[in-house]
Amino acid sequence: MTIGLNAFLIVAGLLFAIGMLGVTLRRNTLVIFMSLELMLNAVNLALVTFSRYNGTMDGNLFVFFIITVAAAEVALGLAIIVALFKRRETIMVEQLNALNR
């Protein structure tokens, strides 16, 4: 039995939606970062699926670029979180409200 294109796409769509909900609903910056990674990986899954079913290699190649960029983003994000924690002793979004005063 082979698994169809739609099954993969539904999983990718669900992962994307879970990630999006995580970014908008969770309060901890680290969890938000994990949710962002989940969204990017949902994209990767969809790319690989389309690449396989359409028979073109571009999608597989694109995945490497996305992984690289995601790594750069997370490295930066963690650095900013550490610096921010040193100043404010919190990483919860509701307490990061010093702007707009």
Binding site: L36, M57, D58, F62, G77, I80, R87, L99
Partner: protein
């Protein structure tokens, strides 16, 4: 597969397409060179700002002399297997981005003086962002678009959080990073849907290279009603709207503009927005051309909502950098009028570019005055602190008035002609409702821009809070401000000097 790759590389080597991206290569060499200079010795290190600005000036001069798009022959020629394509704007936008990098470096010199922050890395990142944006506006392939966009965005994350001793700057950095990464994911999901639909062998016009704009254009022309294509196009549009700060993706703009260092705020407002609009134009005139009936109402709604939201929120705002951010949302709205009208009226692209140029000049005047007058933390500059500024600083006040007048669209400033052109375009395209909203927006914007000017000149009390604290501008700063103001006025009186309109 290997044969294909080898052929591809051989083709690039044979045609020597590297000449085509020579300005970008020179910028990258300059950026890396700065880091090497930093390593050499402390005596050389203090010349880094001068080397950065000198190098940028040299590249700008070279660009004004040589049009690199011509290296590839006629416009519309693609390079690197279709990754890049020169269009009628690529040369002008290269000049635009190098000039803004030069101005941001100049502002950066003022900002970094006396602050205990890394010096060379600032110029390094500013130059890399310029190179990335130059590639971004010429990209003709979604992989190229994504990589160039992320190269610029990741550098911006660092720049926004550059003042790492200030929790405001760091907070702005993390907000920009979370929302920027979110928008990138949305953009990517859109790209994936377009890639999947465009490569599906079951659909007419499917292509093996469905990330390429040309292949997608012919595919979408055959399948304009495909729901996957429509969803993908909407998601890509949402990702770009985030970058230009249009409603409903404007949520990051005020916080990030306030927290970021002054030069970075200027860079975000000008170069980031310009790059977003050029990408939007090339997408709408390329792959999404066949979807215009579907996209036009969406664009009109976003434009109207941006103009109203930006202007109304700016009226209440007392913090100047937030005010500039909110009015930037309104400016994005005016520019979107041009984008919406460009489906039917051909010359509107020119008007959009002209608007971007006047916005660049006026914004740099305003940010230069902000940098020269701000002391200490530049995130808390309120209108009240400018009370009676003109008594102590008549020159800076005059320049600020010209800059704000151009942003508000008062003749004879360049901003007036730019707005007029966009409004005429909206009228010709029959977007009357949008035109009404835009005129209302301009009226509201005059109120808050002139509130600031009024604070400079006419204020009953005798406090001169900021005026006394600021030093008189040096001869160099006066010269730069004068040149920018003259350019604004010249553009207002003789708009044809840019040979666009």
């Amino acid at each position: 597969m290997n044969e294909g790759l080898a052929d591809f590389l051989r083709g690039i080597a044979a045609t020597n397409e590297w000449w085509y991206i020579m300005p970008e290569i020179l910028l990258a060499v300059l950026a890396l060179g700065l880091l090497v200079l930093e390593l050499l010795s402390p005596a050389i290190r203090k010349h880094v700002p001068r080397v950065a600005m000198g190098g940028l000036g040299l590249i700008l001069a070279l660009l004004l002399m040589v049009d690199c798009s011509d290296c590839m022959g006629a416009n519309g020629q693609s390079a690197f297997g279709g990754l890049l394509q020169s269009n009628e704007w690529s040369h002008l936008m290269r000049v635009f981005f190098v000039f803004s990098a030069l101005m941001v470096s100049y502002l950066g010199g003022i900002f970094l003086a006396g602050r205990n922050l890394a010096q060379s890395e600032f110029y390094h990142l500013v130059i890399l962002v310029a190179a990335a944006m130059m590639l971004l506006v010429q990209s003709n392939h979604f992989v190229m678009l994504f990589v160039a966009l992320e190269m610029a965005t990741v550098a911006f994350y660092v720049l926004v959080a550059y003042r790492r001793t200030s929790s405001l700057s760091l907070e702005a950095g993390i907000k920009y990073l979370i929302l920027g990464a979110l928008s990138s994911s949305i953009l990517l999901f859109g790209i994936v849907l377009l890639y999947g639909a465009g490569g599906n062998p079951a659909l007419p016009g499917a292509s093996g290279d469905s990330l390429n704009f040309d292949a997608l254009e012919s595919f979408i022309a055959l399948n304009p009603d495909n729901p996957v294509v429509l969803t993908g196009a909407m998601l890509v549009l949402a990702g770009i709207c985030f970058k230009i700060g249009a409603v409903p993706f404007q949520i990051w703009v005020p916080d990030v503009y306030q927290g970021a260092p002054n030069p970075v705020t200027a860079y975000l407002a000008i170069a980031s927005k310009a790059a977003g609009f050029m990408v939007l134009l090339s997408l709408l005139h390329g792959p999404f051309l066949a979807l215009q009936d579907f996209l036009l109402p969406v664009l009109v709604f976003i434009a109207a909502a941006s103009i109203l939201f930006g202007n109304i929120a700016a009226v209440m705002q007392r913090n100047l950098k937030r005010l500039l951010g909110l009015s930037g949302i309104a400016h994005a709205g005016y520019l979107l009028i041009g984008v919406a009208a460009s489906f039917t009226i051909e010359w509107v692209d020119n008007a959009v570019v002209f608007y971007l140029i006047t916005y660049l000049l006026a914004s740099f005047v305003v940010f230069l005055v902000l940098s020269l007058s701000g002391e200490g933390d530049d995130a808390d500059l309120n209108i009240e602190r400018y009370a009676n500024f003109s008594r102590e600083q008549p020159f800076l006040s005059g320049a600020l008035t010209c800059g704000l007048g151009s942003l508000a669209g008062i003749p004879p400033m360049g901003g007036f002609v730019a707005k007029l052109l966009l409004f005429v375009a909206a009228f010709q395209a029959g977007l009357y409702g949008l035109l009404g909203v835009a005129v209302l927006g301009v009226v509201i914007s005059v109120y808050y821009y002139f509130g600031w000017i009024r604070a400079l000149y006419f204020n009953g009390s005798s406090v001169t809070a900021l005026g006394e604290a600021s030093n008189a501008p040096t001869l160099q700063n006066r010269f730069v401000l004068c040149a920018l103001v003259v350019a604004i006025v010249v553009l207002g009186i003789f708009p044809a000097v840019v040979s666009l309109v």
